[in-house]
C-alpha cells in the first residue's frame, strides 16, 4: 500500500451532523442525569480543543500506525468472490489491528483525551470483550487505571477476552443485573461514572450515549473509510458499488460509511443481528422491530415494549446484542442513505465458516453478520461489481461458540 490513504478524505466534510445540540436530525442529544452534565460538557470542550490540536492529532496518528498497525490492508477475496460467482469482494482488514478489532482506533483517541483531561482512571463497558480488551490495552499503554464492566452472560461466552483484560491489568467487574449483557454493563458503567466523575473518564465503545460521544467515536473511526476509499481507488480505479458492515451500536459501520456519504453512487448496507427470529426478545434488529426512544443518553431507535420498557435482546454475537443503535444511524435510516437489514445467528455462523475455509480468515461473529448479507447478495451482482466489507474483528474469541454450535 502506498502512503496515500488519508489524502482521499482529509479535506472532505461528509455531513453537517451533529448540530450544536448534538442532534443528528431529530436523533441524538443528551439525556443523562444532571450529575453527568458537567462531565459531558467538559468532555465536549476537551474534545473540541484536541480535535484542532496538531500535537494531539500527530500523537494519535503515530500510535495508530506504530502501536495499532494502521493502515490496515484492503484485501481482494478472490476465492470467495469466485465461489459466489458475482461481485468482487474486498475485505477491509480491521481484524488485523492490534487487539483484533477496530475498537482500538477509538480507544487510542479517547485514551489520549483522558490523559489530556487529567483523568487517571478509565472505565468501559464491553459486550464481546473487544472494546474491553482495547480499553485495557490503552490503559496499560498510557499508565491509567482501568475498570471494565461486562455482563455475566458475556463473560461466559467470551471468556478468552476476560483473561486478556485481566492479564493487561484491568479489573473486570461482572454485571449480574437485567439481561446480564451489554445494556446492563452500560448501566453499571454509568453508575460508576456518576459516582467517580472527578478522576474517571467513561471510555464509551460505540457511537452511542450522550453528545459528544456519537460524534467523537465516529471521528476516531473515520480513518477506516478514509483509508478504504483511497485503497479501493488505487486497487480498482473506481469507487465501490456497495459497502457492507455489521451494526451493533454502529461504530465500525459508521467508520467505514462516513467518508463515502457524499458519494451517491456508493450504496451502503448495515447488517443488524437477526438472532433466532424477528420476535421481540429474539433479536437485536432495531430498525426491524424498534421505534424512537431514549436509552443511555441518546434519542434513537430502541427495541422496547409499548410501555417504554427496554426489551431483552438476543444475538449469538455479544457485540451486536444491544437494544439501541447509534443516533447517526437512525438519521441515515430515516433519510434512506443507508439500507439496514439483518442476518440470523445461523447465517452468521455459516458465513464465518465459509470465510474461514475459502480465504483462511476466521472472522468475528459480529463481522460475520455483514458477510452473511454479502453471501446472500454477491451472486445477484455482476462480476464487475465491487463490494467492500468491513471485517471489523477476528474470530479467535468465538471459538467456544463455534464449538458449541457444532460447526467444528
Amino acid at each position: 500500500m502506498s502512503s496515500t490513504p488519508l489524502t482521499a478524505g482529509t479535506h472532505r466534510v461528509p455531513g453537517k451532523w451533529p448540530n450544536a445540540n448534538g442532534r443528528f436530525g431529530e436523533f441524538g442529544g443528551r439525556f443523562v442525569p444532571e450529575t453527568l452534565m458537567g462531565p459531558v460538557e467538559q468532555l465536549e470542550r476537551a474534545y473540541e480543543q484536541a480535535r484542532c490540536d496538531a500535537n494531539f492529532q500527530a500523537e494519535l496518528k503515530r500510535l495508530l500506525k506504530d502501536f495499532a498497525g494502521r493502515p490496515t490492508p484492503l484485501y481482494h477475496a478472490r476465492r470467495l468472490s469466485a465461489r459466489l460467482g458475482g461481485a468482487q469482494i474486498f475485505l477491509k482488514r480491521e481484524d488485523l489491528l492490534h487487539t483484533g478489532a477496530h475498537k482500538i482506533n477509538n480507544c487510542l483517541g479517547q485514551g489520549l483525551l483522558a490523559q489530556r483531561m487529567g483523568k487517571a482512571r478509565l472505565i468501559a463497558e464491553t459486550g464481546a470483550g473487544q472494546h474491553g480488551v482495547a480499553t485495557a490495552t490503552v490503559a496499560a499503554l498510557l499508565g491509567l487505571e482501568c475498570c471494565v464492566y461486562m455482563g455475566e452472560e458475556d463473560m461466559t461466552r467470551q471468556a478468552p477476552n476476560v483473561f486478556r483484560m485481566r492479564l493487561l491489568g484491568a479489573q473486570v467487574i461482572p454485571v449480574s443485573s437485567g439481561s446480564k449483557t451489554l445494556k446492563d454493563a452500560i448501566n453499571e458503567g454509568m453508575r460508576d461514572w456518576v459516582t467517580n466523575v472527578g478522576n474517571t473518564h467513561y471510555l464509551m465503545g460505540s457511537v452511542l450515549g450522550p453528545h459528544p460521544y456519537p460524534m467523537m467515536v465516529r471521528d476516531f473511526h473515520r480513518v477506516i473509510g478514509q483509508e478504504a476509499r483511497g485503497q479501493v481507488l488505487e486497487l480498482a480505479g473506481r469507487l465501490p458499488d456497495y459497502l457492507f458492515a455489521c451494526v451493533g451500536g454502529g461504530s465500525n459501520s459508521i467508520g467505514l460509511f462516513y467518508d463515502f456519504i457524499p458519494d451517491r453512487e456508493v450504496k451502503m448496507v448495515g447488517v443488524e443481528a437477526g438472532g433466532r427470529s424477528l420476535r421481540l426478545g429474539d433479536h437485536a434488529a432495531r430498525f426491524a422491530g424498534g421505534k424512537p426512544g431514549v436509552l443511555h443518553g441518546t434519542y434513537t431507535y430502541v427495541l422496547q415494549n409499548e410501555d417504554g420498557l427496554i426489551a431483552a435482546t438476543h444475538s449469538i454475537s455479544a457485540g451486536l446484542d444491544y437494544p439501541a443503535v447509534g443516533p447517526e444511524h437512525a438519521l441515515l435510516h430515516q433519510s434512506g442513505r443507508v439500507e439496514y437489514t439483518q442476518a440470523s445467528d445461523a447465517e452468521a455462523l455459516e458465513a464465518a465458516r465459509e470465510l474461514s475455509r475459502t480465504e483462511g480468515i476466521i472472522p468475528a461473529l459480529e463481522s460475520a453478520h455483514a458477510l452473511a448479507e454479502v453471501i446472500r447478495r454477491a451472486s445477484t451482482l455482476s462480476r464487475e461489481a465491487i463490494i467492500l466489507v468491513n471485517l471489523s474483528g477476528r474470530g479467535d474469541k468465538d471459538l467456544g461458540i463455534f464449538q458449541s454450535a457444532g460447526i467444528l
Partner: protein, 272 residues
C-alpha cells in the same frame, strides 16, 4: 411565570415555612412489592408524616439508582407495574392521602406514553409534580410545555457538578421545589452526608427562591435533621424502599408508616 404552581406542592412548602418547619419527602417505588400493596403503603407514608411523596415508576434500566431501588424496580416490573397502570390506579391510591405526589420516572416511559397524554392523565389522576431523572432542562422543551399546560410542577435535579449557570437553569425550569442531589453517585444509603452538600445549598440559594429539597444518601433521623438545618426538606428514598423490602411482608404497611414516623420524629435506633 415558570414558577407559578397550582399544585399542592407550593402550599405545603408555604405552610412549612410559615410554621418555621422543615419538610420530609419520602420516595417509594410504585408496584413494590405489588400494585395492590402500593395504595396502603402510600397511606401509611402519609400518615407517618411525609410532607411530600415521590412515587417512583419502575424502569427496566434505572441507571441513576443504586442496588436497593434497582431491586425494587425489578420486583415491581415482575408484578406488572408500568407507568400506565400506575396512573390508572393513582386515583384510588390517592384517596385518603393528603401529601402532594410527585411522579418520579425515567424519561422513555413518559415519551412513549405521549407527552400530552401523560401530563393530562397524570393531572387527572391527582399527580402534583413530575420528575424525569434523565431529562435536563435543555432537552425538556416539549415536556415542559405539556406538563405546564396541565399545571403540574416540573421538578429538576441540580448536582454538586452543576455549574451556577446550570443551577439557575434547573431552578428556572422547576416549580414547586428544586431537588438537590447531595453527592455525585447513584441513589442509596450512606453513613455520612457529603461535604459537597453545604456549598451546593448555598449556591442554589443564590440562584432561586424555590424551596430546596435534598436527596441521595439520606437514611436516618440524624441525617434528616442535618439536611433540614441546611435546606427546606430532606428526601429519603432507598432507606424507605429497603424498609418495604425487609418489613412489609411481616409488618405490613403499618411497619412502613412506623419507619417514616421514626424518620420524621425519631432520635434513637430504627423501630423494631
Amino acid at each position: 411565570m415558570a414558577n407559578a404552581s397550582t399544585s399542592r406542592l407550593s402550599p405545603v412548602f408555604h405552610e412549612l415555612l410559615k410554621g418555621g418547619e422543615k419538610g420530609l419527602v419520602v420516595y417509594v417505588t410504585a408496584g413494590d412489592p405489588s400494585l395492590e400493596a402500593t395504595g396502603e403503603i402510600l397511606r401509611a407514608i402519609d400518615h407517618g408524616g411525609a410532607d411530600v411523596i415521590e412515587l417512583g415508576v419502575p424502569f427496566s434500566d434505572p441507571l441513576a439508582d443504586g442496588p436497593v431501588i434497582q431491586r425494587a424496580s425489578e420486583r415491581a416490573l415482575k408484578g406488572g407495574a408500568t407507568l400506565r397502570k400506575v396512573i390508572a390506579r393513582l386515583p384510588a391510591w390517592r384517596a385518603g392521602v393528603g401529601a402532594p405526589i410527585v411522579l418520579f420516572s425515567y424519561y422513555n416511559p413518559i415519551l412513549q406514553y405521549g407527552l400530552d397524554a401523560f401530563a393530562r392523565d397524570a393531572r387527572r389522576a391527582g399527580v402534583d409534580g413530575v420528575l424525569a431523572v434523565d431529562l435536563t432542562p435543555e432537552e425538556a422543551d416539549p415536556y415542559l410545555q405539556a406538563v405546564r399546560t396541565q399545571e403540574l410542577d416540573p421538578v429538576f435535579l441540580a448536582a454538586p457538578t452543576s455549574t451556577d449557570d446550570r443551577l439557575k437553569r434547573a431552578a428556572e425550569a422547576s416549580s414547586g421545589f428544586l431537588y438537590l442531589v447531595s453527592r455525585t453517585g447513584v441513589t442509596g444509603e450512606r453513613d455520612e452526608l457529603a461535604t459537597t452538600l453545604a456549598p451546593l445549598v448555598q449556591r442554589a440559594r443564590r440562584q432561586t427562591s424555590l424551596p430546596l429539597a435534598v436527596g441521595f444518601g439520606i437514611s436516618n433521623p440524624r441525617q434528616v435533621r442535618a439536611v433540614q438545618q441546611l435546606a427546606d426538606a430532606a428526601v429519603v428514598g432507598s432507606a424507605v424502599v429497603h424498609a418495604v423490602e425487609t418489613r412489609y411482608s411481616s409488618g405490613g404497611a403499618r411497619a412502613i408508616g412506623d419507619f417514616v414516623r421514626w424518620l420524621k420524629h425519631g432520635t434513637g435506633s430504627e423501630p423494631a
